[in-house]
Symmetry: C2
């Protein structure tokens, strides 16, 4: 055993790449090694920029949290979106809203998030700080606490900037929605707002499509929608945020789960001017475009009016619309009735429309 | 809006890279897009290889779990180790044991894990399957259920093979250990077995050091140790698995948290022949080498004998040893008493001994 003054001198020559940046403007490999630099990054940057809450910054290997009041909801998502900063949002708020929304649509109140970074060596510290500020604002807005985390740094070329993972814990609130397999013929399909905005925003930002102004992502928390729906006692079968694969993927999954056929009305789909224009110009189907702040509901007809009334009273749901209905099972899962009344089959999303959208 | 038969034709020419592999032997971008290929990968590969448990494979955006019996433990870790398969383990079991161990050392019984993949396009499907099998075996062994997950695929060059994230939820069992800030002068420091094995295994595998046989990682769950310690009613102040930064990092953190000085005895450190030999040959300090199945305890002197007795009765703890003691605060945090009685200061780990160790 050899005594040593510092960690740097512990390693055989060549096995110890030195940090390439010591002025603090970039993330270095040392920031991920669990020693002094990691501690300083966590203490001076991460915990400093994140909100101080009851259960944050405890140290130790796991957060200690109170016993929840009911059944537990647990979800995880990694975020690999590119570009990291896009019109209408960034990877930080996406990572908070995405996971919070996954809990909310299941009928749970989001409580606690974990936050794990995989950062590429050389990543600008200013971008990391901007992402952390964005995470902080999103967590405060949605009243979730970031209670545990992890930071790994990989060498240049082993990641593309930064990847995040957030896992979320929430508590279910009664009555818990029965779920997609309880969807019945006659149920109505509702979306909370214009569809396809996140997908178009990322596509436009990445492919330099030159739209002016740049189309904005709909990246937003849907927690207010669910608070309003719960307060009003509106009952629904199932809810889902239509992210990757768009509203088409949700409809496909639900139709299969409930052994029904979904019929969507093309003329009823709420579209922003940007999505309508770009879809016509580029031959896109907004049903396949991703959303990051949009909920699809299946609701029994007798609760439809009340659901729409409640949604129309919220900021995010002002343009909520009925987009179709559920029929007894036919040979296909989802059909779309066009403007001239002709029905076409909506296929399950497939292939690679646009990688790294979230 | 344009009608379309498949997702592939939705995109303007050039915006839609086709999967480069359609024979199923590699992971393609389409596997991460939330449509048909993602569903098939999840249904036919991921859920098929993972254990079927009460709460697995529910579908939906979040798992629905029962109300836990007590205070909740919540932790997260990303795993970026290279090589993915190393002597004594692989990234899959590391991702299960690492997160399970983080819960166990805090005094919680691990219950549920999330599992998120970031996979590089072109990653061999056979390697993904091997990793899933390893995850399955590790989850079964530690009696945790994998209840929710996520799969993202990034283009070639945007990751190095595969990265995992597991987050873990557990329930605390009374009495909850008081924690590092309650460590007192006079407390004894115990490790559960030979130190530095994971760090050396990764270093040897990566730098082609040519050791024969190759040094094995100590990658293992520590849950049995804690079950035994709890059953015997042994009280301790704090426990920690000494991963990145090694036992040195744990001692530094604890000494700071308790405003004491830790004194380690060099001759008392349990070392495998491989770690002893490699440390002498290469000038490594085993205190800085990572472990992945090794616990450090701070224990009041009156519980020391019982702790050692219990540990020595377990598979993992047969070589448990007292490595030092806690003194009143001096000017430094950690000292190491050498074989000739001279004391040296143990610095906080710093720099980049070996990136991507876990």
């Amino acid at each position: 055993m050899t005594s040593s003054e510092t960690g740097e001198s512990l390693w055989p020559s060549g096995a110890c790449p030195l940090p390439r940046d010591s002025d603090g403007r970039q993330v270095t490999l040392a920031h991920g090694e669990g020693g002094r630099e990691t501690r300083r990054l966590i203490e001076n940057c991460i915990w400093k920029l994140l909100p101080r809450t009851r259960y944050s910054g405890q140290g130790g290997d796991a957060a200690r949290l109170p016993r929840p009041d009911g059944a537990l909801a647990f979800t995880t998502d990694s975020y690999v979106v590119t570009p990291l900063f896009f019109p209408g949002g960034d990877i930080g708020e996406l990572a908070v809203y995405g996971t919070v929304n996954d809990l909310a649509v299941m009928g749970a109140v989001p409580l606690w998030l974990s936050l794990a970074f995989i950062v590429e060596e050389g990543f600008p510290m200013s971008d990391l700080e901007a992402i952390l500020q964005s995470i902080a604002a999103a967590a405060t807005r949605t009243e979730v606490e970031i209670v545990t985390g992890d930071t790994k740094v990989v060498p240049r070329g082993a990641a593309d900037g930064i990847y995040l993972n957030t896992s979320g814990v929430g508590v279910f609130v009664e009555p818990i929605p029965p779920g997609p397999d309880q969807i019945q013929p006659g149920d109505m399909l509702v979306v909370s707002g214009p569809i396809g905005r996140h997908g178009l925003a990322i596509l436009a930002a990445r492919e330099n499509l030159g739209f002016e102004p740049a189309p904005l992502s709909d990246c937003a928390p849907v927690t207010d929608l669910f608070r309003a729906v719960r307060s009003a006692g509106v009952q629904y079968r199932a809810a889902r945020d239509a992210t990757r694969g768009g509203v088409a993927a949700v409809c496909q999954e639900w139709a299969r789960a409930s052994r029904t056929t979904f019929c969507l009305r093309e003329s009823a789909l709420p579209l922003s001017d940007e999505v309508r224009g770009a879809s016509e110009l580029l031959g896109l189907d907004p049903l396949f475009l991703a959303n990051e702040g949009n909920v699809t509901w299946a609701v029994p007809p007798k609760h439809l009016t009340e659901l729409l009334r409640v949604l129309h009273g919220t900021d995010l749901g002002r343009q909520a619309a009925v987009i179709g209905e559920v029929r007894p099972h036919q040979s296909v899962s989802v059909v779309v009735a066009g403007r001239l009344g002709r029905e076409r089959v909506l296929e399950e999303p497939s292939g690679v429309p646009l990688p790294r959208i979230c």
